[in-house]
Amino acid sequence: MTEILHVSGVTVRFGGVCAVENVDLRINDGELIGFIGPNGAGKTTLMRVITGIVQPQDGKVFLEGVDITNKATHQRIRAGLALAQQIVQPLRAMSLLDNVALACGGEKTHHALKSMWITDISSEHNRARALLTRVGLSHVVKELPGTLPLGYLKRLEVARALALNPKLLLLDEPLAGLSQKEAASLADLISTLNADGQTILLIEHNLREVMRICPTLYVQDNGKSLAFGKAEAVMSDPNVRNAYLGVSHA
Amino acid sequence: MLYLELFIQGFVQGSIYALIALGLTLVYGLLRILHVAHAALFTLGGYIGVIVTNATGSFTLAMVVAMLVVGFAGMLMYKLAYEPLLSKPPYVSLIASIALFIAAEEIFRIAFGPYGLSYQTPPLQGQIELFSDFYLKYAEILVMGLSVVLLSALAWLSMRTRTGVAWRATVTDPDMARAFGVKIQNVRYLNFFIGSSFAAAAGVLVALLNNLVEPTMGSVPSYKALAIIVLGGLGSIRGTLIAALLLGILESFGTIYIGHLLGRDAIAFAFLILVLMVRPQGLMGGKL
């Protein structure tokens, strides 16, 4: 079992507040980990540490054994991370096809000066079309994002992230804001992607869907690791139940 | 003694900058617009101050009239120029504001002539001797005094009155404020009124110090005011005031020592760029 991600002893402080405290997390190849925890648990902060948007005061992040703690975001992406963000941000002036095609063009955009000499986009368009079909958006590839519903834009985020051929796909609350039916549908897609071999770390609030599709759960509360393991075991852990006081979705 | 003189000069200049930059930062804090045209209101205040003083002989009346008229002019500017552009991308209101400013300067030139106006009988022309060989003009004392009074009044207004609370709430979270029944529109009008009238006061004072008001007198202060609010950290009132005073003093000393290299007016921008390289969010700006 190859270890894809290792978060080791990460601590993040903002001013006087400790957002993440001494967190350890390991993700192996092919796993689908549900990352849950009450509001304010520090989930997004940890996600930002993994992607490099936030620097930890303490601790390290390893991707396939390589220390990426000091690398810039775009370097981590090139090393194999991909992120679908909570607040969808499609590139508004381009069609969905172009949105994904840009992500597919990693080889062509890597060297800025070389990118000037390349005009052929056909292979990226083909790949993009395939990816958009995979996420169920084949009928709207030519549309601009502005006219499309949230559910579609969430899928676009996923397609764009997949285009980067990531070793680890980070999904930050993809089901937020969706209706029950849309959420179930998107959750199914995530499960299918994992079944096809994609390693996924899924931050989510929607416990119903998380319980349904994630075999393994990682729970964080108040910035500290609370539990990690098989879904049923974690949800029956009294500490976890206490942290979720009052929540009864399981 | 030279140092003290430079310091006080810098303080006087800084007070003027503070009065001007305040309006700019008030608008930015509320609407995220760089209100370049603000400097036109400064110039307008200067013109009104001179015209009313020459017509009525009363400087005090001129100051009051200038502040009131320009306050309303500022509100009008918001209504006609900025409100329709609120939904557009930020560069639109920036360019529109610049266009407005240039147009205003031209209108002043056409209406009042390119050579400017002066006081017929300039008020407050005396000076007092603080210590040997060091004089402080009455006008300079007025600048410092009036600035302190106006800024304190503003601080009192924002901290201790319901209007002030409503205003601060709107700046922090407009939706929340709206939910509590605050009339956002009125807050915006008040915002522009206060900022513009302070700029008018600055205009009247500068016209007094130089005994001249001319169409382009707003240019340099406008650009510097922009540098000041960025320096202070966009949206931070405290930052703006500190930056304004700091700049006034810096220019005062800087002109003597590096003025031959850059010219006085470029010092503001040199300082700004240096600071931004070290602290991209400005001196007191929040996290980007």
């Binding site: 955009t109 | 920036l94 850059l262």
Partner: protein, 290 residues
């Protein structure tokens, strides 16, 4: 004929200058309120070399280099700041340039540099050189827009953070945009110096920066054809219509303001909207005819 040639030359130089800003602001979304500084850098470099005896054509790469170096520094500075801060920083660069030039006798101080020699090519051939350079850069701009570099620029202009999350080194692309845009402005500066034969610090101040920005915006940010049209028109309008010349600034600012109020995407935007509403109406009426 001579008058028309002068007009064409002025137009060509303005088009080149405006397209160079379009590269930075239009393509890559980095607003610059100090672009005239780079025109000035090129102009002063070329003028001083020319007066020292260097042949005109050889001053052009020197001008481009000088402007590009300044542009690279500005670009590096711009990487640290965003949006509004960027606008004011670039404005500051412009003021710094003028401030420094004005103070140094080496650059001619307040008075500037007069008696710049002609290009040595005669009026007609000089005009053709200017037109050729403008044309070349226009073609280059159109090409880049179709290339992957243009694709990335468009993405950066749209949403910088997302572009980064796609694994793209945004900083490097921005820097390249700045260097190309400012270097080209430097070339325009060399042409400017040899066209007007006199330059001073006031030729490259804030008003000049706003004028060229106006050309880009009125044309339509990012639209090569729009910017060409707007630059050509606005540069010669004061020469053609005396009334406009007298009230030049008022006219420009009124035009700019109206544009922002009613069509912020410029003439290009107007045209796009006009053509799509026409095609909509023709398809509707076709539908009705059946």
């Amino acid at each position: 004929m001579s008058y028309e040639i002068t007009l064409l030359t002025t137009m060509a130089i303005s088009v080149l200058f405006a397209l160079s800003l379009n590269f930075i602001t239009g393509f890559c979304g980095q607003i610059s309120l100090g672009h005239a500084a780079f025109l000035g850098a090129g102009a002063y470099t070329s003028a001083m070399l020319s007066k020292a005896g260097v042949p005109f054509l050889m001053t052009i790469p020197a001008a481009a280099l000088c402007a590009a170096v300044l542009g690279a520094i500005t670009g590096l500075a711009s990487l640290r700041v965003r949006h509004d801060f960027l606008a004011i920083t670039t404005m500051g660069v412009g003021f710094l340039f003028v401030g420094i030039i004005r103070q140094q006798d080496f650059f001619g101080g307040e008075i500037g540099i007069a008696g710049i020699p002609g290009s040595g090519f005669g009026k007609v051939r000089f005009m053709l050189i200017c037109v050729a350079l403008a044309f070349t850069f226009a073609a280059f701009s159109l090409y880049v827009r179709r290339s992957w570099m243009g694709f990335v620029f468009k993405s950066i202009a749209d949403n910088e953070d997302v572009t980064r999350v796609l694994g793209i080194d945004v900083s490097r692309y921005k820097l390249i945009a700045f260097i190309i845009g400012t270097g080209t402005a430097g070339v325009a500066g060399a042409l400017y110096a040899h066209h007007f034969r006199f330059i001073g610090p006031d030729s490259f101040g804030f008003v000049e920066s706003i004028s060229v920005l106006a050309m880009v915006i009125v044309g339509g940010i990012g639209s090569v054809w729009g910017v060409i049209f707007a630059a050509a028109l606005l540069s010669v309008l004061p020469m053609l219509v005396q009334f406009i010349d007298d009230y030049k600034l008022l006219f420009y600012s009124a035009l700019l303001f109206s544009m922002m109020r009613f069509s912020p995407d410029g003439i290009a935007g107007l045209c796009t909207r006009l053509s799509s509403s026409i095609s909509r109406r023709t398809t509707e009426s076709d539908g009705n005819k059946r």
